[in-house]
Amino acid sequence: MKNFKTQSPSPKIRQQLTLQAMVWPALACMIVFTYLPFYGLTVAFKNYSVMDTMQTSKWVGMQNFLTAFKDQFFWNSVLNTLGISFLKLLIGFPLPIIIAVLMWNMKGMFKNAVGIILYLPHFLSWVVLGGMMTSWLATTGILSKFLVGVGVLSAPGNFLINANQYWWVAVLSDVWKETGWNTIIYTAALTGIDPTYYEAARIDGAGKLRQFWYITLPMIRRIIALNFILTIGGLLNSNLDQAMVLINPLNRSKAEVINSYVYTVGLQQGDFGYSTAVGLFVSVISLILVLVTNFVTKKLNDNETVF
């Protein structure tokens, strides 16, 4: 007992110390890069421009939010974000489900080859895709050639400089890029279905379409619901990477989304206080959106939340 203090720490404590030390770097990262910026959110309630620091900037209460309410450029970016998101929901949500079911019916080499091709665009950056789009969508590009060839368009045109077509450009390019990748989650769910259900159905004389309607669809209902909630919660999330490449002076009125507006006003024009307020406002609305949809699906699904 005498030399208790001079003893080295017990193996248990030493073990625990090593384990703790292994968490520290991660902990430091989270605190610095996620938690410290939360403090920066107070900027939303300040008049804070490029020349200011946290100390010199003045508190202005809700003024930045009131400005946002009266800012027609902000509301225009909200409108564009919502328009693009809804169209994306309409096309981009059901398409992966359909393709996953189609692919699941195929076997072997064909299935693998289709998989490799369909997942590929997900791995191209938006810069690469944006660069390719400037040549596809140009007046002399393949899209014009194709549409004129099949008689949909009477004369070739540049789709990127026509503001009225921008929403479709944004939606379809996003669908082109991500649809294949988004099938994976459904493919995984489909693989989890017990094949005996299908055997039983086949013996009872159900064709492929009936099998799809009465077995496949009910079995993947939950994952569809989960994805739906996530999509609704993300309605106000705009694709900044995409917007930054495709925006140009001629289509800006339809292409400016919330994120790109925050970027332009905040980082380019240096109005930190105001742009933080806009970002914070949109995040709070998004959060409410997720909570509400989760609540509604809970009610619809007999009190089972998907989260």
């Binding site: 625990q16 890069f33 959110l41 289709v114 590929l120 690469v128 064709g207 933080t276």
Partner: protein, 300 residues
């Protein structure tokens, strides 16, 4: 009796026919989707090998075959440097991300870790909330990360989401392996580096791939936080070329010019060079990507 069997036979026949039609229609649509992806990509590839003046006529085959566009790309020393920056940020980023994230994952996989609940709570918040663009910018400014290569590395050191995936993999390793090593006197660190890590190559490969693709493709970090051109990765370089050639084509439009300029050709060649590393490795590693995606979805 005879009639009944006949009708069953007919029914069976109809079913088989229905299934065949179904399969044919399925194959047709999948082929169509594949072409919708392949043809545009192919078009860019053949355009990059075409003479600038012939670009408007290129659809599926190069016109006026030339390597000039690629020569111009490789002659530009700033592009070579950007390639170097991209490679450095990808390699250093992936290695450090794996080190920090897997270390934390190992500690968090032990249920006797003191404060585990607290760490979990801290981590889950990072999955759903962030300070946003401007607060992040202000923080980086204060930390001196603006115009600094470390802005590509430090914020990406740790991801709670990746940690969950790695942690779940660690948990599936039979505890008996570590127990016997412990009896032989191995320290925690030795068990982590000598036993657990070597057994976890599949999950580490998956995370490395996702992180690597992110690092290679990311350009917003540069756009937001880096102004020094010598720090531009290849994606940012390509972004500049695209913006430049778009402005040019808009000027051409107002000036009434029809012929594309060589900027377009160089843009096409740069696109191919930028996307090439990913397109080359992607088919071989596709199964890791897919498994990673489902790992995260099912377990996370």
């Amino acid at each position: 009796m005879m009639a009944e069997t006949a009708s069953v036979q007919v029914k069976k026949h109809v079913k088989i026919r229905e299934n065949q039609v179904f399969n044919a229609v399925t194959a047709f649509f999948l082929l169509l989707f594949s072409l919708v992806i392949l043809i545009p990509v192919w078009n860019v590839l053949v355009s990059s090998f075409s003479n600038a003046q012939e670009l408007p006529n290129v659809t599926l085959w190069p016109r006026g075959f030339t390597l000039e566009n690629y020569k111009a790309v490789f002659r530009d020393s700033s592009l070579a440097q950007a390639f170097g920056i991209s490679t450095a940020k990808t390699v250093i980023g992936v290695v450090t991300h794996l080190a920090v994230t897997s270390m934390a994952a190992y500690a968090m996989s032990k249920s006797n870790l003191a404060g585990r609940k607290f760490y979990t709570a801290l981590g889950i918040v990072t999955l759903f909330f962030s300070g946003g663009m401007v607060p992040t910018y202000l923080l980086y400014r204060q930390l001196g990360l603006l115009d600094n290569f470390m802005v590509f590395i430090l914020p990406q050191l740790f991801s709670y989401y990746d940690m969950i995936i790695i942690m779940n993999f660690f948990r599936d390793i039979p505890p008996s392996l570590e127990e016997s090593a412990q009896i032989d006197g191995a320290s925690v660190w030795q068990m982590f580096t000598k036993i657990v890590l070597p057994l976890s190559k599949p999950v580490l490969a998956t995370i490395a791939l996702f992180n690597g693709v992110f690092q290679w493709n990311d350009y917003m970090t540069t756009k937001m936080f880096v102004n020094t051109k010598s720090l531009y990765p290849i994606q940012m370089k390509l972004y500049e070329i695209i913006v430049q050639s778009q402005t040019q084509s808009m000027n051409d439009l107002t000036a009434g010019a029809v012929l594309p300029t060589s900027t377009h050709s160089i843009q096409l060649a740069t696109i191919v060079v930028t996307a090439l590393p990913i397109i080359i490795v992607y088919p071989f590693l596709q199964k890791y990507f897919v498994s990673g995606m489902t790992l995260g979805a099912v377990k996370g």
